[in-house]
């Protein structure tokens, strides 16, 4: 009997060491697949929006994602909680990826709407979904207004106010 309990203890001890080693190596494997620190820290994009032409879509790049910047014409009404005011003008600032499966919608200047060719989704100029499978409006990237420029990737007070409004609604 004494022998049995000795073997039992050795078996359990072996199992425990193996389990710790197994979990630790799984963790290491998970970490190996993580994005590299250089990838995580890279990327603030600065865009000067003062020279943009109204109703012409400007596409900038931030963290490999296309960013739509659309200056409004005089007759386009700003949307509360979505349109960004820089200087005297209003802009749509949005991540240009369809919220359905990530294709890049095109902008139709005549109809003032975005249309995604992949699965037929449509958005109004302020990025609200109006037709098809998109589950939500185009996402708004974190931004900070610095005079006439936008710093993408940094959360400015205007962005925080906008998000608070969206979250509260």
């Amino acid at each position: 009997m004494k022998d049995e309990s000795r073997r039992g203890f050795i078996g359990k001890a072996f199992g425990a060491v193996a389990a710790v080693g197994g979990v630790a190596s799984l963790l290491a494997m998970k970490k190996t697949w993580d994005p590299l620190p250089s990838v995580m820290t890279a990327g603030f994009t600065t865009v000067d929006v003062s020279a943009l032409e109204a109703n012409k879509l400007q596409i900038s790049v931030w963290r490999g994602k296309p960013i739509f910047i659309l200056k409004y014409t005089e007759d386009m009404k700003p949307t509360d909680g979505r349109s960004v005011k820089v200087g005297d003008h209003y802009y749509s600032v949005m991540i240009g990826l369809c919220t359905h499966l990530g294709c890049i919608p095109g902008y139709e200047e005549d109809n003032k709407k975005f249309k995604c060719a992949c699965h037929g989704g449509e958005y109004s100029a302020d990025g609200k979904q109006t037709f098809g499978p998109p589950p939500r409006p185009l996402d708004i990237p974190p931004y900070k207004i610095n005079g006439n420029t936008l710093v993408l990737g940094e959360e400015g007070p205007e962005y925080k106010a906008m998000m608070a409004k969206a979250g509260g609604a």
């Binding site: 998970k30 697949w33 993580d34 994005p35 590299l36 990838v39 596409i59 790049v61 963290r63 490999g64 994602k65 296309p66 919220t99 359905h100 499966l101 990530g102 294709c103 890049i104 060719a117 992949c118 699965h119 037929g120 098809g132 499978p133 998109p134 589950p135 939500r136």
Partner: protein, 416 residues
């Protein structure tokens, strides 16, 4: 240690050490296959040959391919296609092979469904087969990324984005899978690793397991007849080859398989040499550009049916968004075949056309999959979107109804 007598021949020397005689008997000359089968039973051997062709052509491509976003496209389209002697041949074998292997997998799968070869003891054959189907799908998807053309890039983008639909962890999971916020170099190199090492190794293991799972329940036959394999084997070995219901795997079964294989390879190499274009989408000859979506994205033909199930849901139902519904339907479509043996509640193992209700189900399923495949490639606008929705819904209804249909069939057959 066992006593070894000096060997009289080289053959005996090896046989003493490796048991060749016994091994050949167990694996080949006394592995029994039913006689009552047709050319559809040759698909397993065809698939083994196709996998070998893919492996060999892949090894040659691997010598010149460069898994780097700046070099991948040119290493395929310039180095392999124009500089390497016969590089084009290996690429075309690999690309056409990847497509044709799915054609044979589907024939193999639906032969199994038609003849009821997935139940009454054959469940593990079916499950290991479906595991192989999933592994081949992952292998096809990861390989499609490697030439780093526009279709490679956007297929990778859309498919990895699907994981974003998983509640709570979705967003982080997508970044983790890609190793970046978008499909980037880290994504290419890790999927390269999966394509050339991890998944092929898993496939090899699964193939061995699939073959092994056949040994105890044995191969099904054209009539779904159950008989005693040992008894029939004894008959065969005692000389009553005509009366026995079985033949040995080698040389009898394989010789007929090789005949079918001969025709198949003529067809395959006809495609490789004269019609490879169907496996080489022209859009993929534009280099990947993360800021320019092609006007119309579609997967290779063999994924079209499940792609259409995914995107068929384009409007909200009861507060659930079209996107979530599509994801749920897609998940359902990819998992449901796995449990087919338990959805079929009828004990009949017969070809579908001899089953009073199942035959309608079977042909409806084939028709629905054809519609899904056809519309998966068309732009999802106007009436197309509705046909896609209808076919996608039909797919779900067919599988939800299967237990009831087969239960009713069992009752009807017993009542006779």
């Amino acid at each position: 240690m066992a006593e070894f007598k000096p060997a009289d021949s080289m053959y005996e020397w090896f046989d003493q050490r490796l048991g060749i005689d016994k091994f050949v008997k167990v694996m080949m000359t006394e592995y029994w296959i039913p006689k009552n089968i047709n050319f559809l039973w040759a698909m397993g051997v065809l698939l083994t040959v196709m996998f070998t062709l893919l492996l060999v052509s892949g090894i040659f491509l691997l010598m010149y391919y460069k898994p780097d976003v700046n070099m991948a496209f040119d290493s395929v389209n310039y180095t392999i296609m124009q500089e390497v002697g016969y590089g084009w041949l290996f690429r075309h074998i690999h690309a056409v092979g990847a497509s044709v292997v799915f054609l044979i997998i589907y024939i193999h799968m639906f032969t199994g469904i038609y003849y009821g070869s997935y139940k009454k003891g054959r469940e593990m054959i079916w499950i290991s087969g479906m595991l192989l189907f999933m592994l081949f799908s992952a292998e096809g998807f990861s390989g499609y990324m490697l030439p780093w053309g526009q279709m490679s890039y956007w297929a990778a983008y859309v498919i990895t984005e699907i994981f974003g639909g998983i509640p709570l962890i979705g967003g982080d999971l997508v970044i983790w899978i890609r190793g970046n916020f978008y499909v980037a170099d880290a994504t290419l190199t890790r999927f390269f690793m999966l394509h050339v090492l991890l998944i092929p190794v898993a496939i090899l293991g699964a193939i061995v397991f699939h073959f092994y799972s056949l040994r105890f329940p044995h191969v099904n036959n054209e009539e779904g007849e159950f008989f005693d394999f040992d008894e029939e084997a004894t008959k065969y070995l005692e000389g009553d080859k005509k009366g026995s219901k079985v033949v040995p795997f080698w040389p009898v079964f394989l010789s007929k398989d090789f005949f079918v294989l001969g025709f198949f390879l003529l067809f395959f190499f006809y495609l490789v040499f004269f019609h490879y274009d169907f496996a080489m989408d022209p859009i993929n000859f534009d280099k990947a550009d993360g800021l320019k979506t092609p006007a119309h994205i579609y997967p290779e033909w063999y994924f079209l049916w499940s792609y259409e199930v995914l995107r068929g849901w384009f409007f909200e139902i009861a507060g659930v968004s079209g996107k979530d519904l599509g994801l749920m339907a897609f998940g359902f479509a990819n998992a449901i075949f796995l449990v087919l043996p338990w959805l079929d509640r009828s004990p009949m193992v017969k070809p579908a056309n001899q089953r009073p209700y199942f035959k309608y189900w079977f042909w409806l399923l084939i028709a629905d999959l054809m519609v899904l495949t056809e519309f998966g490639k068309l732009p999802p606008t106007g009436p197309n979107a509705w046909v896609g929705f209808g076919a996608s819904l039909m797919f779900l209804v067919l599988f939800i109804a299967l237990p009831f249909i087969t239960k009713a069939e069992a009752k009807k057959v017993e009542g006779k």
